[in-house]
């Protein structure tokens, strides 16, 4: 059991996603601090991947900018080691299976533990394939976060029963990106989740406005915001941290 549970002790959890190295690691560090100081409860740190098949154009763009800036898995590990000195809230990595696998699963996951990463989210690793990394995650005490989608139906209970850390509920069909409307019947999904596990669940994909964040966190334990944060970083670059502060404050207060 990792530290992740503590993220849900402070009202509804606000979970921002930030791509490491977009546009550079100094800006990422400042953005993470800005988010943590203004009410973020858990940070999802993206390790960029060349071909992020679950991402829409906004996060694809962040991946490209970060990789073009020369960021690597090793540099991100060093960066987390550094920010961990003052960032106390839980942090998880969001990346793709190949990034973990090619680094050496054991080496990657043991390093996560060593530098203070509490969990890993891999959007291309469904329930059926989790044995790929689960033994190492168990060995080092890093949570392998499970995802539930609008199409999961009869799979929800199965996934929820074995979930660790928190459950990531994907709000909509398709890839990441802001949406004007979320039409999935998320309450029903959350009901099934609640019947099968005690771990918290947060909703992500498509959330950008305070109203949406409130709505989503009313039916779950928190909201995950990716593309909306990335858009701020894309727009303001090195000046993004002050806008992130403002945005996180606004979102967190709308949710609670």
């Amino acid at each position: 059991m990792s530290n992740i549970k503590s993220a849900f002790n402070n009202g509804k959890a606000f979970i921002p996603f930030i791509t490491c190295g977009d546009p550079d690691l100094e800006t990422t560090a400042a953005c993470v601090r800005a988010a943590a100081e203004n009410g973020a409860d858990l940070i999802e740190l993206g390790i960029p991947f060349s071909d992020p098949t679950a991402e829409g154009p906004v996060i694809q763009g962040a991946n490209i900018r970060a990789l073009n800036g020369g960021v690597t898995t090793d540099k991100i590990f060093d960066f987390v080691r550094e920010i961990r000195k003052d960032i106390k809230i839980p942090m998880v990595f969001m990346t793709y299976s190949n990034v973990v696998f090619s680094y050496g699963s054991d080496k990657f996951i043991s390093t996560c533990k060593e530098i203070g990463i509490d969990g890993i989210i891999l959007p291309d690793l469904p329930f059926e394939e989790k044995e790929e990394f689960l033994p190492q995650c168990r060995k080092y005490g890093v949570d392998l976060i499970s995802l539930i989608a609008p199409t999961s139906n009869d799979r929800i209970a199965m996934i929820a029963k074995e979930a660790e850390g928190f459950l990531y509920i994907v709000s909509s069909l398709g890839v990441t990106g802001t949406r004007s409307k979320i039409t999935t019947d998320l309450s029903s999904i959350v009901d099934i989740v609640r019947q099968n596990t005690n771990i918290p669940c947060a909703i992500g994909f498509g959330i950008s406005t305070p109203e949406q964040a409130k709505k989503m966190s009313d039916i779950s334990d928190g909201a995950i915001i990716g593309s909306a944060i990335i858009k701020i970083i894309e727009k303001y670059g090195k000046d993004a941290p002050k806008y992130i502060s403002q945005y996180v404050k606004e979102m967190k207060s709308a949710m609670n």
């Binding site: 291309d124 059926e128 995802l147």
Partner: protein, 396 residues
């Protein structure tokens, strides 16, 4: 070869977003039902024979054989199929399956455009909507095929992300499928992606080796000594190999696109330069850097310009049952010109990779040996690009 989890040795699997899991489970169930359904098989065979023109010819390339002075060379003429390539075998199977499943819309990726054209054709025939994703770079290299797809009533989406080639078209098709599953079937064009695609596509392409076997037995009274095919994702190659896998004396050779050479970064030769990884739903070999970032691969051939290889090929390589060899752009272009001049057959530049290797191998083999080269497609689509490669600018 497939175990219940869709593995070929360590390769394969289902590394896809949760959103798609029920879709691939539904597909697997439907496929397992219909593959044994006599009615489905009757309909498919009728489409393959009456519409696509199967069986394709096994042609004795006498001039080429004499010129090279070694093994007897046969060409498996998949280029004579309707739409000009082997792709139609798989597409008719998948489109019919999708229709049985109640899907009304097909999406597909395409590299050279052959799979896109085949999918657009099947959609037109079966009255389905069709959207094809094609890398921007490839829409330029294969402009004629873009027009053909549109003519057949399909929408072609030019993919600008990444390197604007086949891998990006695959990524974009997966993204599209995640957003629209109910009425849409992703008609994947090669033996790649998550289970059950590598198995489904292989089964639909296995007709190639089934026919080669029957035809060589009929013409020569024995099996060939070597079967040679080009490999990108590897659908025509696995189709050409499949019924020979248990015939250990038949050498199986896959020809990868080496681009400007396997000692350069401008290559797409996965077995020669890649390593084990997880991408596009499968575990297999991929061209990638030390951090697992997928490499921007290159080949003159849009159809082979892919950084991975199907999981069953990766397994056949691991166990030493098939051999994978790199063939450069220059060798492929020479073979393209050679087959045109020698036999009056213009092969697809993809298939020319297989011809190029056969040109090296045949002279080293005795005259009583037999080689079968799969000509996976015809080369009309490549003429303008090859002319450009030779410094001649022509209008398409």
């Amino acid at each position: 070869m497939t175990n219940p989890n869709g593995r070929f040795g360590v390769h394969g699997g289902q590394y896809i977003p949760e959103t798609l899991m029920n879709a691939v489970i539904e597909l697997e169930k439907a496929y397992n039902y219909y593959k044994n359904d006599p009615e489905f098989n009757k309909e498919l065979t009728e489409l393959l024979n009456e519409y696509a023109g199967r069986p394709s010819r096994l042609y004795y390339a006498e001039k080429m054989t004499k010129d090279l002075g070694g093994a007897k060379i046969y060409l498996k003429r998949e280029d004579l199929n309707h739409t000009g390539a082997h792709k139609i075998n798989n597409v008719l199977g998948q489109a019919l399956l999708a229709k049985k499943m109640g899907k009304t819309r097909l999406i597909a990726e395409t590299g050279a455009g052959q799979h896109g054209v085949a999918t657009a054709t099947a959609a037109a025939l079966l009255g389905m909507e069709c959207v094809v994703f094609m890398g921007e770079e490839d829409t330029i290299r294969q402009a004629l095929n873009v027009y053909r797809m549109r003519l057949l009533g399909s929408k072609v989406i030019s993919v600008k992300s990444g390197t604007g080639t086949l891998k990006d078209a695959v990524s974009e098709a997966f993204r599209e499928w995640t957003s629209r599953i109910d009425d849409t079937h992703y008609c994947l064009g090669s033996v790649m992606g998550p289970h059950p695609f590598p198995t489904i596509v292989r089964d639909f392409q296995a007709v190639i080796s089934k026919e080669i076997k029957e035809q060589t037995l009929e013409k020569e009274g024995r099996l060939p000594d070597a079967v040679i095919a080009c490999v990108g994702g590897g659908s025509n190659a696995i189709g050409s190999f499949y019924h020979f896998i248990d015939d250990k004396d038949v050498q199986l050779i896959g020809c990868e696109a080496a681009g400007k050479g396997i000692d350069t970064f401008e290559t797409a030769a996965t077995i020669s330069t890649g390593r084990l990884g997880i991408f596009h739903g499968m575990k297999s070999y991929f061209c990638q850097d030390k951090y697992g970032q997928i490499a921007p691969v290159y080949s003159i051939s849009a159809g082979l310009d892919y950084p991975g290889i199907g999981p069953e090929h990766a397994h056949l390589h691991d166990i030493g049952r098939a051999q994978y060899v790199p063939v450069t752009d220059e060798e492929a272009v020479c073979a393209f010109e050679y087959l045109s001049k020698t036999e009056g057959i213009i092969p697809a530049i993809e298939s020319a990779h297989a011809v190029a290797y056969a040109m090296k191998l045949a002279p080293k083999m005795d005259k009583d040996k037999i080689i079968v080269i799969t000509i996976s497609g015809r080369g009309d689509k490549d003429c303008a690009a090859i002319a450009r490669y030779r410094g001649e600018d022509i209008y398409e």
